[in-house]
Subunit: 234 residues, 2 copies
DNA sequence: CAGTGGTCTAGACCACATT
DNA sequence: ATGTGGTCTAGACCACTGG
């Protein structure tokens, strides 16, 4: 029956089995740690090791002073990787920086970067090519205080996290990503040499520091057959 | 300096600080656990508690018999929730099962369900409505052995994981999700009452058991302005 | 072989929640 | 006051790695 090598693995297996056979139901209290020690003939540390795994996997939740409780696993949490290296089906041959400038924000920048209308915004625009043809158009906006040097000639195409990593620790950064299907407007259509109204995938990215202050906003338009998004349950 | 309440939190904070200030670089070995005990004046269990947190957060990796090593956090891992309850911007009013039948598989079903051409496939098709108008079209395919009762009148619109949850434990299931932009073909266009060639968001879902055996394949076509995908770094 | 991480123990004290 | 989970300790043995 049991394939587990260690005592704590057997406890995990047993508890998972009791959850999946409805012996333990959602929000039921797990037996107390001392009770589990007796049930499995293990020390409290071993029991807690098992519980810590189940906690980290999301099968339990704890309330100090009360107990550990069953949390029904919803199998709807997916994880995906997103980076400029992986977003294109076949990668890309080159990325050209077509402009880097200090601009007056429009309403979208004021909204997404949470800045005052009189502040300035660093705007970076790239075209990404495959086989000599543009396959994607990338706009990135950063508040001027984020400290990017726009005269920098070495502005290689890179992810937001790399762009700002010297200004903000990766531990103090989080990102929101939104995927939509949109129709190309005149500007983007011309840049990508496609008819106005063609469908494009739009990936918007907002970068924040730990306190929630926006550090960047990006829009990436991609020809729909040049990209795909892939996510998997954890 | 330190806001941490507990000794193990201070150790975590200290190690994270050394990573972000490049004292510890990618793939550097962390000092041995006994060395860390001495450095922080803590027992091995407390040191291991800190290390276990850093391991679970992906800042370290371990090789038994060798040591613990620094893993540079790539901030490109996003997590998203996907379920038929949350995928629509404004939810949906109703979902009509428009057909449930046993069909002979086409090449895509043979491929995605990894079945033989002479096996049978359960096909379920739904239309999802908002304000009386169709906003999405859902096709789900399951190998016949998956044991869904197609005559079941109570085939409510639900996620794959709910559809098969009595046949397969949630602990033995994983799902792959792919998002694409596509042009509506004649069949889908007619069902959704839109012009052929209109852009649609296509969400494909493959469900597997733990051994990798396919348990289901689904295609969900959604009007692009009725949905959005949202992911956040962990 | 020595050094490393992985598991496991008994026992202690604290913070929190309920009665 | 009692029971709960949360932290911490010292000490032991095992499995794995490398020289």
């Amino acid at each position: 029956m049991s394939n587990s090598k260690f005592k704590y693995e057997e406890i995990i297996e047993s508890i998972k089995h009791k959850i999946s056979t409805n012996v333990y139901k959602d929000n039921d209290p797990l037996p107390s740690e001392t009770a589990l020690c007796a049930e499995y003939g293990a020390s409290r540390i071993t029991v807690r090791k098992a519980i810590s795994v189940l906690l980290s996997e999301g099968h339990l939740y704890s309330i100090q002073g009360k107990g550990n409780y069953i949390k029904n696993v919803k199998k709807n949490k997916f994880s995906m990787r997103y980076s400029c290296k992986t977003i294109f089906n076949n990668g890309y041959d080159e990325a050209k920086l077509i402009s880097s400038s200090l601009v007056t924000p429009d309403v979208y920048m004021v909204y997404n970067l949470n800045i005052a209308p009189n502040e300035r915004v660093v705007a970076l625009k790239w075209l990404i090519y495959e086989d000599g043809l543009p396959i994607a158009y990338d706009e990135k906006y950063l508040p001027y205080f984020a400290g990017i040097n726009i005269s920098e000639k070495s502005l290689k195409y890179k992810d937001f996290s790399d762009l700002v990593k010297n200004k903000i620790s990766v531990y103090e950064m989080y990102q929101d990503l939104r995927i939509k299907g949109v129709n190309a407007d005149a500007d983007v259509a011309e840049k990508l040499r496609i008819p106005v109204g063609s469908i494009l995938m739009l990936v918007e990215l907002n970068v924040y520091d730990q306190s929630g202050l926006p550090f960047g906003w990006g829009k990436l338009y991609i020809l729909p057959d040049k990209t795909r998004f892939f996510a998997r349950t954890e």
